[in-house]
Every structure is written in structure tokens, then in C-alpha cells.
């Protein structure tokens, strides 16, 4: 049954100072609503006061700075997929944004919401892990910057404190000479949450791997970098034996489970196969 409206409130917020005051009183931020309104419809949204952050300029927009690109927490999937610099330097962010829900969801869902929800099935985190992003968290005591790898602590658990908001994600455009690969495995093309997904980039010189970064989503409590596979592949030429061994090692990097969307067994095999698809495409 849907949530009972009088148990909730939603207020507009004009600036960050006001937002920090509301956080201190235990209010929760509301941006695009593509998760919160669904929880409300299902009757499982915690009752209480929420505040609309969608007008906070400090959290918005995609900015191309001197050595980095800043994705504001309020940038939508549509903003990401239509941005020329993102398309050029971070193509798998664009690919993943195109596969979130469908156009109406992409117009409303935000980068910050995708991260803050801390779901292992969120589409951006694997990309942010391989692009070695940083995340800016802002509170009344100032800004702190973390490596994105430090942000997700466990299933729906993250580094964010109750007094903080996600301000932006920072990306360094240093992967132009890399192969970029994104593959989401779901029940259908649109409106599906993934059973497994991989984001991967690699620099290859004469079939030898000079650098490689691989991350999976939906197959562990958080999105995960596959460090064991990466260190095995580094410096190697991609022969069929090497690819086979990489698929075996993947079982040590991911821990897929059975749930409503798939089984652990299917997820493991599908993950190994998409890893193979990536590696075969770059050798």
C-alpha cells in the first residue's frame, strides 16, 4: 500500500546553509525522486521530513575544468549522455547513462542519487571505479574529497555522514588512448536493472596489456574493482590461455548471489563471458 501522505513533508530549499540546517534536524535530501517516489509508492519510504535539493546551484551542472571534469550531484543521466566532453573522454559513462531506465527516468535521475542510494546494481559506480574518480562531500564544516574506491563500504552503506551532501564527482580526462568497454546484462534493453555489468578500460600496445582497470556491478555487496584479474593481466599478451585463466581468477574478485533478478550461478558465468568479450575485443 502507498505511503500515507500526512506522514511526510517535502520542503523547498534555496541555498546550502538552509540545506545543512535541515540535515542537522534529521531531514533527508530529495533530488530526482526516481528511487524515493518508488519507495513511497511501495509504502516502504521511512516517514519524515524531506527537502528538495534540486534548486541548489552548488550541486548542479557538468563543469569542464583545467585538469578535470566535475559532474555535479544534480547532473542527470540525460545531462551526462548529451555532454560532448563526457562523450569524448568517458564514453562508458555515456553508455551506462543510456541504459538506465528509459528517457523519462534519465531526465530525472541524478548522478548523486545513483551514488547515494549505494545499491550494488547502480549503473555509474563501476564506471567511476575504473575512471578512478574522486567524490566531493560537502557539509557545514566544509568540503572533503575521497577516492571513489573508499566511498562504498557495503550493501547500501557508504562513507557519507548524516550531515553531508554529495557535491560532485571529479574525473581526470587521461584515458583517451584506452579501450573503453561497458556491458550490462539484464532481462531487456530498457527499464531493467542489471543481473551483472562490467565497466573496463585498457591500454594495449602490440597486444600486450600496459594498463587495465575492470569493475563489476550487481555481483558483490558493492560495485567492485577486480584487482586480482587486473594484476594477472598486466604486462601479458592476450592469448586464449591467458583469457581463460583471467575468467578463472574472476571468481576470486566477485561474489554473486541468488536474488530476485538472477542466480549466483548465472551471474558468475555471464560475468566471465562478458569479461571474455571485453578481452577478445582488445587483443
Amino acid at each position: 500500500m502507498r505511503g500515507y501522505l500526512p506522514d511526510y513533508d517535502l520542503s523547498s530549499t534555496e541555498n546550502l546553509t538552509e540545506a545543512f540546517g535541515k540535515l542537522a534536524e534529521g531531514e533527508k535530501p530529495f533530488a530526482g525522486g526516481t528511487d524515493i517516489m518508488v519507495l513511497m509508492d511501495a509504502g516502504v519510504l521511512p516517514a519524515g521530513r524531506y527537502f528538495d535539493i534540486s534548486k541548489l546551484k552548488e550541486l548542479g551542472g557538468i563543469k569542464v575544468l583545467k585538469d578535470q571534469v566535475s559532474l555535479g550531484a544534480l547532473a542527470t543521466y540525460s545531462d551526462v549522455r548529451n555532454h560532448k566532453t563526457i562523450q569524448k573522454h568517458f564514453p562508458i559513462l555515456v553508455e551506462s547513462a543510456k541504459e538506465v531506465g528509459a528517457i523519462a527516468i534519465q531526465n530525472r535521475g541524478t548522478v548523486g542519487g545513483n551514488i547515494a542510494n549505494a545499491s550494488p546494481a547502480a549503473d555509474f559506480p563501476p564506471c567511476l571505479l575504473v575512471y578512478e574518480a574522486k567524490i566531493n562531500l560537502i557539509s557545514s564544516s566544509g568540503l572533503r574529497t575521497l577516492d571513489y574506491t573508499q566511498f562504498h563500504l557495503g550493501y547500501k552503506k557508504s562513507e557519507i555522514r548524516p550531515d553531508e551532501l554529495i557535491q560532485s564527482v571529479l574525473l581526470e580526462p587521461r584515458f583517451l588512448d584506452y579501450h573503453h568497454f561497458w556491458r550490462k546484462v539484464g532481462s531487456r534493453q530498457a527499464q531493467a536493472i542489471s543481473k551483472t555489468m562490467v565497466a573496463a578500460i585498457a591500454k594495449v600496445n602490440r597486444r600486450k596489456i600496459e594498463d587495465i582497470k575492470i569493475a563489476f556491478g550487481s555481483v558483490a555487496p558493492t560495485a567492485v574493482r577486480c584487482r586480482k584479474v587486473e594484476s594477472f593481466l598486466l604486462g601479458k599478451k592476450l592469448t586464449s590461455e591467458v583469457i581463460l585463466e583471467a575468467k578463472n581468477i574472476l571468481t576470486k574478485d566477485i561474489q554473486p548471489i541468488d536474488d530476485i533478478r538472477s542466480t549466483g550461478k548465472y551471474r558468475l558465468i555471464a560475468s566471465q563471458n562478458v569479461l571474455e568479450e571485453f578481452l577478445c575485443g582488445i587483443g
Binding site: 517516489m37 528517457i103 527516468i105 530525472r108
Partner: protein, 152 residues
Amino acid sequence: MKKLKLLVNSKTFTVDCHPFARLLDVLREELKLTGTKEGCGEGECGACSVIMDGKLVNSCLVPALQAHNKKILTVEGLSNKSMSPLQKAFIQCGGAQCGICTPGMLIAAHAMKTRKKNPSKEDIREGLSGNLCRCTGYSQIIESVQKCGGRS
């Protein structure tokens, strides 16, 4: 309760409503614009699609507060005195059967045509990928949108 101003189909409306109420319910119950339908209520089926400040959204996922002072286009706003070319094409091509998905399909197609002047079949398929139809099998809907080309 909050007093909110909505600009729906070029008319200004003032409503008293809960800020967390769904835009879908405000349109249907307060403004009596029942063209916009509820299907799943969770952003999956597209039956409640409307265009807000030029962007396609699921009105079941928009809280009323965020529609304050926004321009909203619903299916009622697509036709003036007569039906739009897109609506006529849906009739000619059999793009509507039971009709529940049709307002959302029309709105999503309208939004897609606003973004892409000469949409390819792929553009049409993507533009309508958030809208479910359980009658037509989709082919007739895609044909309807193709038939009227860049016009909507």
C-alpha cells in the same frame, strides 16, 4: 498543504495540495485532466508520461512541489481544435487499441520528435522504450510515429 502554481497546457492553475502528492494525482484529481493514466505507479510503464519544462517525465515520480511554476504538457495539450498529425497517424495505423498506454505513447513520441527532427526507427524505439503496451505488439505504434515524420 502548499499553494502551488502549475502552467498546464498553457493555462495557469493554482492548487492547494500536499507537496509530496504525485503530479499524476494533481493532474487527474485536482485539475480533472484524466488523459494522463496511471499504470504501474513506479516509473516502469510510461502511461503517466507528461512533458515538464520541455523534458519527458513520469508524472507518478514527480512530487507536486517540484512541478511548482513549471510548464507541463499533457495529452490534452497536444490537440487544439482538431487532433494533431501524430494522433491522426495513431488512428490510421492502428497504434491504439485499449487506449491505456496511448496518452503516454503520444507524449513520449512528441518529446522524441522535439529532440530529433528526423527520427530514425532506432530513435523512435528508444524514445518509446519507457512505454509499455500490452495490445499492439508495438509495430503499429512505431509505424504511427514514422508515418508523420518530423511533425507532431
